[in-house]
């Protein structure tokens, strides 16, 4: 009947809107999530190193692990 057909059309429109919203969410995630992940992956160590130097600059350079490593002598 006409009202059932209208209900189905409205449902179909709602579904299509939801699918388009999903595309926008995916794009947003690409920008926010993908870029944020890349920023964390490539920038977090720099940020954290600077933050630790701001809070406790005296100890950072004394840490033995802060020395660049050269390849060791011990071979197996």
């Amino acid at each position: 009947m006409a009202s059932d057909a209208m209900d189905r059309t409205e449902q179909s429109d709602a579904v299509e809107r939801a699918d388009r919203v999903l595309v926008w969410l995916w794009l947003l995630t690409f920008i926010v999530g993908g870029v944020a992940t890349t920023a964390v992956v490539f920038g977090a160590d720099i940020v954290l190193t600077r933050a630790s130097q701001r809070t406790d600059p005296a100890h950072t350079d004394d840490h033995p692990a802060a020395e660049p490593a050269t390849h060791g002598d011990g071979h197996r």
Binding site: V15, E16, A18, D19, R20, V21, L22, V23, W24, L25, W26, L28, T29, F30, V32, G33, G34, A36, T37, T38, A39, V40, V41, F42, A44, D45, L48, T49, A51, S52, R54, T55, T60, H63, A65, A66, E67, P68, A69, T70, H71, G72, G74, H75, R76
Partner: protein
């Protein structure tokens, strides 16, 4: 039923995925052998091997199981998501084979490094690696693995883009997303984590490889930080993948469809790339160089990291509840009529249960004040095994219970073994976790070959129970799984179609009698998880406050 009936596996997919499965299962078997070797050193009652072999076994087990086995099987699932599940061909099978070849070479190189005695664990920390002339083999193997996976990821991306007819049209993309099963959309969402993670691994291990062959310098602190970040990103791929696999399994084993809009389930996968990146800090809570404010922020954000998975669990449980109520079963009675005898369904449920247990423990470990008490104790492997060997691995085994017969066109061999395998494995992993946590809380350290001559009696008891019973039974059930897969390939009854190959794995529920759209029982796991986290947190803080030394 529709998803299973719609599956067609072309010859190219069959060969490629068969090769991934075969190499992957060999890698998993070798990882299991190293696990056995570890138990025969570290279990007090079973310590028959010399202590120095422990670190080789630890390195082999960690690298082959966590890095390579998961890398192979997840890459295979990525291919399935872009081909078999959506009825498309890969953009380039040559590229995919090249990726597989590079990944296999990487695995061989890693194994050679382990057998040579490069005992640097999967951390491959720089100060430790300095002592091993063969460390370059491990670093290069990680570079090659990342490179091989990148080739397949590129292939997948081009395949998916190629499936959209009008690439600049939002409507075309909307229609494409609508056509995708939830698992294939999960693979698309996972790219936002996988691609940066792979790039990070290529850079970090590339630099480490160059340093290991004397062609560069490296900052050990920066490497350590980068490693934890890349590792953190990498280990959310299994979280996302196991949920995607769960959506496939719940449909093919129980004919369950979503009663909530599929767009909701798909959108939830987009939360992973949002929630996961900031939470890498929870790996650094015991690091004295990380400011406290950063640790606090990281801990608070980390509390959200389980939200997407909890919501997915609600949807998946709801799919089951709705389907069984639609078949006419009662409000609670439907639970008895689920296909518990189907090994893939058993794997799905056990995978979710072990994920639940591991997740509870993880929520204790990621809290800033509790982490120092638990860090580097045996609580860490105690929580890792139900989450990784349970949640991810058992769920993947469930997929293979369908995937291997379907690929080979053979019925599953050893159905009687397969019926109990996931349940016993899950129980063993939970047993290992409970007594392992007790050992860690009693002070047993992680990554030590033996307990030492002055160890308290309680340490010996907990470790014998955790490893001697739990881990050994888990290893035995892993052997049973591999045996079933091998015998299926060799002795499984040949049939004409993928559907025929899996038809005897378990009955589907009766036909739908009436509509049913609300799922109250599906809320129970999520509520139990929240209550469990709160309870475990209270218990852990009471333990912390009872310590003779208070950390401020």
């Amino acid at each position: 039923m529709d998803l299973l009936q719609s599956i067609r596996i072309g010859a190219d997919d069959r060969r490629l995925l068969g090769a991934f499965a075969a190499v992957g299962l060999v890698i998993m078997s070798l990882g299991g052998l190293f696990a056995l070797q570890m138990k025969l050193v570290r279990t007090p009652a079973l310590a028959v091997l010399p202590a120095p072999t422990y670190y080789q076994a630890l390195t082999g087990h960690g690298i082959l199981m966590f890095i390579f086995w998961l890398g192979f099987i997840q890459t295979a699932f990525l291919i399935v998501a872009g081909t078999v599940l959506i009825g498309r061909r890969l953009w380039s099978y040559r590229l995919a084979w090249a990726g597989l070849g590079v990944m296999t070479l990487a695995a061989a190189l890693a194994l050679a490094g382990v057998l040579r005695g490069v005992n640097i664990t999967y951390h491959a920390t720089i100060p430790l690696a300095q002592q091993y002339g063969g460390a370059w083999m491990i670093f290069l193997s990680f570079v090659l693995l990342a490179a091989g996976m990148t080739l397949v990821v590129v292939d997948f991306i081009v395949t998916m883009i190629g499936a959209v007819e009008h690439k600049r049209s939002i409507t075309a993309w909307a229609a494409f997303f609508k056509s995708l099963p939830v698992a294939s959309f999960a693979a698309l969402a996972g790219l936002f984590i996988a691609v940066p993670g792979l790039l990070a691994a290529l850079r970090m291990f590339g630099l480490a490889f160059l340093w290991s062959v004397g062609r560069g310098t490296i900052d050990p602190s920066a490497y350590r930080m980068d490693w934890h970040i890349a590792f953190h990103i990498y280990h959310y791929i299994p979280a996302l993948t196991l949920v995607g696999v769960a959506y496939v399994l719940v449909e093919v084993t129980a004919d369950a469809r979503s009663v909530y809009a599929k767009q909701v389930a798909k959108a939830l996968f987009l939360l992973y790339p949002i929630f996961v990146p900031p939470t890498f800090v929870y790996h650094l809570l015991a690091d004295p160089n990380v400011p406290r404010q950063v640790k606090l922020a990281g801990t608070v954000l980390s509390l959200l990291v389980g939200v997407p998975t909890l919501l997915h669990t609600f949807i998946i449980a709801g799919m089951l509840e709705a389907r069984m109520r639609q078949a006419g079963y009662g409000a609670i009675g439907w639970l008895r009529h689920l296909p518990w005898g189907n090994p893939a369904f058993g794997s799905l449920i056990v995978g979710l249960v072990t994920l639940f247990v591991g997740g509870l423990m993880a929520y204790a470990l990621l809290q800033e004040q509790l982490a120092p008490m638990l860090h580097n104790t045996f609580v860490v492997p105690a929580y890792v095994h139900p989450i990784a060997a349970g949640g991810a691995n058992i769920t993947y085994m469930g997929a293979l219970y369908y995937g291997v017969p379907a690929l080979l066109g053979r019925r599953l061999w050893g159905l009687r073994i397969a019926r109990w395998q996931p349940y016993v494995m899950g129980a063993a992993l939970i047993w290992m976790a409970v007594f392992g946590a007790a050992a860690g809380l009693a002070g047993v350290p992680r990554r030590y070959a033996d307990l030492g001559p002055d160890a308290p009696a309680a340490w010996t008891l907990w470790m014998n129970l955790s490893l001697g019973v739990g881990a050994m039974v888990a290893i035995a059930t892993g052997v049973a799984f591999v045996w079933v897969m091998l015998m299926t390939a060799v002795r499984g009854e040949k049939v004409a179609s993928p559907q025929a190959a899996v038809a005897d794995l378990g009955p589907l529920p009766p036909a739908v009698e009436h509509g049913y759209g609300w799922t109250p029982l599906a809320l129970v796991p999520a509520v139990m998880f929240v209550v469990g986290v709160i309870t475990l947190t209270v218990m852990a803080f009471q333990r912390l406050w009872a310590l003779p030394i208070q950390m401020r």
